[in-house]
C-alpha cells in the first residue's frame, strides 16, 4: 500500500469487541482498515447475524457520504483493529495522495450504485411474488457464474435466507415465507436452512418481465 504515514491524524485503534459504529447510528465517517479484522453484523429478530468479516485494505461505512443516513449495520473490532477514519470533508485529502484508495472507493461506489438501482427496480414492481423473483434475478446478476460447473442448466443456488430476501424485497419476513412456500409448492424453488435453490432462472426472468410495466 502507498505511504500512509502522513495520515496518522486520521488513525484510530479499536480493541477486540469494541464497536466502531452501531446499526441505526447516524454516521459521517468511513473507514479504511490498516490492520486487524472487523466484523459487520446486524440484529435480525433476536439474533446477531454476521454479514461480513473485513480486513486490510478494505473500506467500510462508505455510505456515510449520504447525509444523515443511519448506519445499516454494526461494525465491531474482532481483534485489535487499526483504521483510518475519514469523512466527506476530508476524504479528498487522503484520496489525492493515494490513488489506490481512491480507485478502491470508486469501485465500492459503482457497486453500491448498482445495488441501489437494482433495489429500486425490485421495489417498483407491484406484484409481491414478482418482487421476490426479482431478488433472485438480482442475486444471479451480482454473484455471477461462480459455480457454473455445478450448475445444472437453468438451476441456481443462492446462499440466502428468507430474512435476506425479505430485506431486499422490502417486505416482511412472514409474507415472504408464505410466498416462497407457494413457489416451493409449484416446484419453482427449493427451500433449505441456509440456501434457496431456484429451479429455472429463465422462468423467473420471464415472470418478472411480464409483471414489469413498460
Amino acid at each position: 500500500m502507498a505511504d500512509l504515514a502522513a495520515f496518522t491524524r486520521f488513525a484510530r485503534t479499536y480493541q477486540p469487541g469494541e464497536i466502531i459504529f452501531s446499526e441505526f447510528e447516524p454516521g459521517d465517517s468511513f473507514y479504511l482498515i490498516q490492520a486487524g479484522r472487523v466484523r459487520i453484523t446486524k440484529i435480525v429478530g433476536d439474533i446477531e447475524k454476521n454479514i461480513d468479516i473485513l480486513s486490510a485494505p478494505e473500506i467500510f461505512g462508505e455510505m456515510a457520504i449520504l447525509e444523515g443516513a443511519p448506519r445499516s449495520a454494526t461494525a465491531i473490532a474482532l481483534e485489535t483493529v487499526k483504521v483510518l477514519e475519514f469523512n466527506r470533508a476530508n476524504f479528498e485529502i487522503l484520496m489525492m495522495g493515494n490513488p489506490q484508495i481512491a480507485l478502491r472507493l470508486l469501485k465500492v461506489f459503482t457497486k453500491r450504485i448498482y445495488d441501489q438501482k437494482r433495489r429500486f427496480m425490485i421495489l417498483t414492481l407491484e406484484d409481491p411474488q414478482a418482487k421476490i423473483a426479482d431478488v433472485f434475478l438480482m442475486l444471479d446478476e451480482t454473484q455471477g457464474s461462480v459455480n457454473q460447473s455445478e450448475l445444472d442448466g437453468d438451476k441456481r443456488e443462492f446462499k440466502v435466507t428468507v430474512d435476506d430476501v425479505a430485506h431486499w424485497a422490502g417486505m416482511n419476513t412472514a409474507e415472504v415465507q408464505t410466498l416462497l412456500g407457494h413457489f416451493a409448492n409449484q416446484r419453482r424453488v427449493e427451500l433449505y436452512q441456509d440456501r434457496i435453490v431456484v429451479k429455472n432462472i429463465n422462468d423467473f426472468i420471464r415472470f418478472v418481465n411480464s409483471k414489469r410495466k413498460k
Partner: protein, 356 residues
C-alpha cells in the same frame, strides 16, 4: 495500451445488457448514451463530451451495461481494459476524484429514490432501532457493546422516547460490566439467554460498583432514569415489545396502562401506541374505532397528525379510497411543521390515491 476504435455514425459501441469490460474515452465525434429513467421510464439521451469517460461503472463493477452507447457522428474512441484503466488512474488521481464526486452524487440520488419507496409506518425507525440494538446487547450480557450503543442513543436523542429507559439500561450495563465483566452475571433483562441460577432481574443500585469518574456528567441523567415510575416502566416495556414486533403482547400492556389511567402522560402515549398495535395487527376496523375515540376525547393529542394518518391508512387497507383520502388531506390541512414525517407520508399517500 488502450486502443483507438473508429465508429461510424449510427453504429452502437455497446448495448444495454451487454457484459463489457472496456472503459471508453471519447476523442472526437459525437456519442449519446440512451437509457430509460428508472423512475419515469422516460427515454434519456445523455450526450458525451469530448474527453469524457463512459462505460466506467459497468466495467469496474462487472455488471451489465445500463445504456445503449450510440454514435451520432463518426467518432474516435479510446478503449481501456480495466487493468489499463487502473494503471492510468494511478497517475491521474484528479480524474478518479472527479469520478468519485460524480458517483457519490449519483449514489445519494438513487439512495433517496429507494428510501422514498421504503416508507412504512410500522417499520422500525432509526431511533427505535438504535435503542433496540442497545437493549439486545444488554439482554445478551454484552455490556460494553450495550454501553456504547445506549450512550450513543442518549447523545443523539437526549429527549427521545426511549431516553429514560436508555439511561436506566446504560446504568445497568455499566454496573454489570464493573461487577461481573462482559458475558457474565445474572440476566439483566427478562428474556436474556442462558438462564442464570438467580431468577428475575436483579435490582441494580447506582452506588454499586460505580462507573468511572469520566462518565460522571452522564450519571446525573442516568439517576433520573433510575427513578422511573412503575407506569413508565410498564409503558417502556410495552414499547420494547412493540419494537420487537410482538404486537399482541404490546397491545395487552398498553391496554392495561390505559385502563389503570393514573398518570395522564403515559395514558395518552399508551392510547396512541395501542392504536398502532391494532394497525400493525391488521385490525383495521378496531384501529379506526380506537383512534376515533382518541380524536373525540383528546382532540389536542400531541400525535394527532400520526393518528389521522394511520386512520387514513386503515381506510385505504379496507379499500375505501375516498375516506382514506379525506383523512390524508386532513393531515395536510393541519397547522404546524411542514416537514413532519406524518405530513410527508400523508402527502405521498394522498398523491398515490390520485391526488385531489
Amino acid at each position: 495500451m488502450p486502443k483507438v476504435g473508429t465508429y461510424r455514425a449510427n453504429s452502437v459501441i455497446y448495448f444495454q445488457g451487454d457484459q463489457g469490460d472496456r472503459i471508453f474515452v471519447l476523442q472526437s465525434g459525437r456519442v449519446s448514451l440512451n437509457y430509460n429513467d428508472i423512475e419515469t421510464g422516460k427515454l434519456i439521451r445523455e450526450i458525451i463530451q469530448t474527453g469524457e469517460f463512459f462505460g466506467v461503472k459497468s466495467a469496474l463493477g462487472r455488471y451489465p451495461r445500463e445504456e445503449n452507447a450510440v454514435v451520432l457522428a463518426d467518432a474516435n474512441v479510446l478503449a481501456f481494459t480495466v487493468p489499463e484503466f487502473e494503471a492510468f488512474s494511478m497517475s491521474n488521481t484528479r480524474i478518479i476524484i472527479k469520478m468519485l464526486k460524480v458517483f457519490s452524487n449519483q449514489l445519494r440520488h438513487i439512495h433517496k429514490q429507494v428510501e422514498n419507496l421504503m416508507e412504512n409506518p410500522t417499520a422500525v425507525n432509526a431511533e427505535m432501532g438504535l435503542f433496540k440494538t442497545g437493549e439486545y446487547y444488554l439482554r445478551n450480557r454484552m455490556y460494553s457493546q450495550a454501553r456504547y450503543v445506549l450512550s450513543r442513543y442518549l447523545t443523539y436523542y437526549p429527549a427521545g422516547k426511549m431516553a429514560e429507559l436508555s439511561g436506566r439500561y446504560l446504568e445497568m450495563a455499566e454496573t454489570a460490566l464493573a461487577k461481573y465483566g462482559d458475558g457474565k452475571g445474572p440476566a439483566p433483562l427478562a428474556g436474556s439467554r442462558a438462564p442464570s441460577p438467580m431468577q428475575g432481574a436483579p435490582d441494580f443500585d447506582a452506588n454499586e460498583g460505580g462507573p468511572s469518574s469520566s462518565s460522571a456528567p452522564r450519571l446525573a441523567k442516568v439517576s433520573e432514569g433510575a427513578s422511573l415510575s412503575d407506569v413508565a416502566k410498564e409503558y417502556y416495556d410495552a414499547v420494547s415489545l412493540f419494537s420487537q414486533e410482538k404486537y399482541q403482547d404490546a397491545a395487552k400492556k398498553f391496554k392495561a396502562i390505559v385502563e389503570n389511567g393514573d398518570e395522564s402522560e403515559y395514558v395518552g402515549k399508551a392510547q396512541f401506541d395501542l392504536g398502532r398495535c391494532l394497525f400493525a395487527l391488521s385490525q383495521w376496523d378496531l384501529a379506526i374505532k380506537h383512534f376515533t375515540g382518541i380524536v373525540q376525547s383528546a382532540p389536542k393529542h400531541p400525535d394527532m397528525a400520526d393518528i389521522l394518518f394511520i386512520m387514513g391508512q386503515s381506510w385505504e387497507k379496507k379499500g375505501d379510497k375516498a375516506k382514506a383520502k379525506a383523512f390524508f388531506s386532513k393531515v395536510l390541512s393541519m397547522p404546524g411543521d411542514e416537514d413532519s414525517s406524518a405530513r410527508i407520508k400523508a402527502k405521498k399517500a394522498f398523491n398515490a390515491l390520485g391526488g385531489a
